[in-house]
Amino acid sequence: MLAPAHLTGPRWPTSRPAQALAWAFVCVALLCGSAMLGASAAAADTPPAPVLITTDPREVTSAAIYKTATYVKWPESILGSKDAPLRIAVFGVDPLGGRLDDALRSKKLGTHPFRALRFPGLEDLEECQILFVPVAEEEQMPKLVEHYAGKPVLIVGESIAAAENGAGVALYFENSKLHVAVNPEVLRAVRLELSSELIKLARVVQTRKKVDDR
């Protein structure tokens, strides 16, 4: 038979390897401690925020649509009464799911709450302040531009091509990061002005001339 039971409680290392391990403990504790002290000394300058990561680009796009709305200088006449909502619509099949609703929930621009809308097709288009056109719906861009011609509606696309074809702002991904493009010509046409803070971060593009414009 095997050795009898001897449950004797914890026993602590006395051998050489175990002592080596004890030293390792001390080293790690010192590493942690010195980093903490060093940190206090080095904390004088305000460093940039840590790089955040996500596995869902749709969350980033949704947050960026909300942010874009806050960078537009909306004339009060467009928004109407004090508590009238700022309407952000998604055209076609919505790739963002409920993420846009999440991003806009409980948010306000001054006194105006946000409202997320869906316009599934051209026949469903209604009044809105921002129209988000997913990349899959970009073919409809000319019709959308025509529909809202002369109205202060900001069309937000998902590619450089969208900004070249009628979107005032494009939110697109390159190298796993969000980028922004603006088309000042389009913005002038819809009489909307963006804050310089956004323009500073954005790539400026021009409207692509159609072949029959020559």
Binding site: R11, P17, L31, L52, P95, R105, R118, A136
Partner: protein, 665 residues
């Protein structure tokens, strides 16, 4: 569990005393709120995955069979533990043995002591060298703090080292900046009697911190005969994390936690006359604590170094077994661009582990003190052969283990992206599994047959066993035919050699007994092949359907092996698993997830095929509060998911109902 009542009361009191949310939310929403970032910060958010390349890379262009379970998917799944959350990952086999034990594996070799899977938390291994596996009961990372779980199927040894044989599960927790303000959550259910969680996050001059505590109390399941399964358990857990930006180029993180719990169970006891064998109670006391620190320095773009140091202590004591294990280690990693087209990553790691084990009437260890050290070095080069088209990843890890000696684990991968919507990848890899302490040192009686003399059947470990080797060939294809549909398919062929099986040896007389030994021996080889498919379809706004199908088969070539082995790779893993899941947001307040899965039969222990459904419904009246109702394991009430393991019987898994309230303020 005498402490459950006061702790439950503490949680309830904390929740009740929480201030009512104002109309305009002052605190942070439950998950990381990207809308709180400036546009500039948003433009710095990376859409990434880490495990496959050991530095962040885009998921779609990873030359490995990878799946990422996001925090949102974990929350929607209604899972109340990490193994239950892993049921939602294509290609992962999860079977519940009883209230506190799970068999979790990838590509076969499943069992309570599954030993071909490497589990990491924030890049630090949590496997125990005792049986080269994971204690799932004490892997109690709060689900609220998890940012994502990355699961890689197939070997990842070139980067992560020995035991990353059939797959890697990397649990990544949220940075402290994403868990600011207070959060409390309480779950009450028929099986999960009480799960409570409290967290506070705050700002530092140069960073953020959080501290949390949790208490969980789980009820028993029924045993195979319908009686009390004696497997209830509870765990008290507390932890913290501090993230600081020391300078513009240096980040430092310190995190740690400690737990203490009681885990009940049963054990098959083999003793001399007159009982010979009976099922005994095996109440287990567990406690542990760990501390980790990581320092990252950025030299420039794609150019950084990090060093991780850690200490870890685990204690587990029951009638037939006791272990105190202390581990410490360092892990250094450097990433450096060699040119515009080449990223070079290399590093070295040292880990020491000291284990004090206790013998009992049923088991004996060769030495009751044992120290193991592992040294490893790795290098990997990512070469862009043609931008946006061809990429080659070549890497290798050299590892030295006190008992297994030197091992080289090379890995070669090719990635081809013919278009933005398609990716092909292929890989050839070698991985080794080093023998566990049990396979080397343990003698355990598993049966006594009365007679004159009594025949005592024993598993006997052997220090001469060699590491097992896996040579793997994989081919993968991902395609997005439209913006709404995606497919991810992988086929693989694994060849295992020198598998460690327990083979019958020559019986010998010891005292008044005849010992019949089963000795750990490198004998059989095995071939495993399979197909893994994960598809996703978003037919309409706010609706997501996903379908996963995994087919696998393992064939053992005995090569003289005569005994069916305890690991039994052919009969303990389902040949087919299918899972269909639907996520739907009804409006801004209500959302649901329903998952229906089918698991093939297990030939060992004749576990029949079964259907299982899990449903959860969330109601979010505002950004601060979420109320959830969950139903787990519909259609398979009182069913077995896995047969008994070597020393423990399995229990029946009940249908369970729970209610959860979460509050951020």
């Amino acid at each position: 569990m005498s402490i459950s009542a006061p702790i439950g009361a503490l949680f309830c009191a904390a929740l009740l005393q929480a201030p009512l949310p104002a109309q305009d939310p002052p605190g942070d929403p439950p998950q990381r709120d990207l809308t709180e970032l400036s546009l500039e910060e948003l433009m710095n958010v990376e859409v990434v995955v880490t495990s496959a390349a050991r530095h962040e890379t885009s998921l779609w262009k990873t030359p490995a069979a990878i799946f990422v379970l996001s925090a949102d998917e974990i929350r929607r799944s209604g899972a109340t533990s990490i193994p239950e959350a892993l049921r939602g990952v294509p290609g992962v086999s999860v079977a519940r043995l009883d209230s506190n034990r799970w068999a979790v594996s990838i590509r076969g070799f499943n069992g309570q002591f599954a030993n071909s899977l490497l589990v990491l938390v924030d890049g630090k291994s949590v496997y125990t060298p005792l049986f080269s596996g994971t204690w799932w009961d004490t892997l109690d990372v709060p689900l609220d703090d998890i940012e994502r779980i990355e699961v890689i199927r197939g070997p990842g040894a070139a980067l992560w080292g020995a035991n990353a044989v059939n797959g890697i599960i990397n649990i990544i927790t949220k940075p402290a900046a994403s868990t600011q303000g207070e959060r409390a959550s309480v779950t009450i259910g028929t099986y999960d009697r009480f799960l409570g969680y409290l967290r506070h996050g705050g700002e530092l001059e140069d960073g953020h911190w959080r501290a949390w505590m949790s208490y969980s109390n789980h009820g028993p399941l029924d045993d195979a005969a319908g009686g009390d399964g004696s497997d209830e358990w509870d765990l008290f857990h507390a932890g913290f994390r501090v993230d600081r930006s020391l300078t513009e180029h240096d980040d430092w993180t310190l995190w740690g936690d400690a737990y203490n719990g009681f885990v009940d169970g049963k054990v098959d006891v083999a003793v001399p006359a007159p009982q010979y064998s009976f099922v005994g109670a095996a109440p287990t006391d567990v406690w542990g604590a760990n501390l980790q620190s990581r320092w990252t320095h950025r030299f420039g773009e794609r150019d950084e170094a990090s060093i991780l140091g850690y200490l870890d202590h685990q204690s587990r004591r029951l009638l037939v077994f006791g272990e105190e294990r202390t581990s410490a280690g360092f892990d250094y990693q450097r990433r450096q661009p060699l040119s515009d087209r080449q990223d070079f990553t290399y590093g070295a790691a040292l880990r020491g582990s000291y284990s004090a084990t206790e013998d009992s009437f049923q088991i004996a260890w060769r030495d009751d003190r044992r120290f193991d050290s592992v040294f490893s070095a790795f290098a990997q080069d990512e070469i862009v052969l043609e931008p946006e088209r061809w990429k080659l990843v070549a890497g290798a890890k050299l590892e030295h283990d006190d008992y297994a000696g030197w091992n080289l684990q090379p890995d070669l991968r090719v990635l081809y992206t013919p278009s933005e919507r398609q990716t092909w990848w292929a890989s050839v890899s070698r991985a080794v599994r080093t023998p566990s302490q049990a396979e080397q040192d343990l003698r355990a009686v598993f049966a006594i047959v009365p007679g004159a003399p009594d025949e005592v059947y024993e598993y006997i470990g052997d220090r001469n066993v060699e590491p097992e080797t896996l040579d793997a060939l994989q081919l993968g294809y991902r395609v997005r035919p439209s913006e709404h549909v995606s497919f991810d398919a992988t086929v693989y062929l694994h060849h295992y050699s020198d598998l460690i099986f327990y083979e019958p040896g020559t019986p010998f007389v010891s005292g008044t007994d005849l010992i019949v030994p089963l000795t750990a021996t490198n004998m059989p080889s095995a071939n495993a092949y399979g197909f893994e498919l994960a598809t996703e379809w978003t037919p309409a706004e706010e609706t997501r359907l996903s379908l996963a199908w995994t087919a696998q088969k393992t064939q053992v070539d005995p090569r003289g092996s005569v005994a069916p082995d305890v690991r039994d790779p052919e009969g303990k893993t389902p040949q087919n698993q299918v899972r269909l899941s639907l996520q739907r947001d009804f409006d801004e307040h209500f959302s649901t997830q329903c998952a229906l899965s089918w698991t093939d039969r297990l030939t060992t222990d004749s576990v029949p095929a079964y259907w299982r459904a899990d449903v959860s419904l969330d109601y979010r009246p505002d950004a601060q509060r979420t109320f959830s109702l969950g139903l787990q394991n519909l259609f398979h009430d009182d069913g077995m998911e896995f047969g008994p393991s070597t020393f423990n019987p399995s229990n029946r898994v009940d249908t369970a109902l729970y209610l959860r309230a979460s509050w951020s303020f």
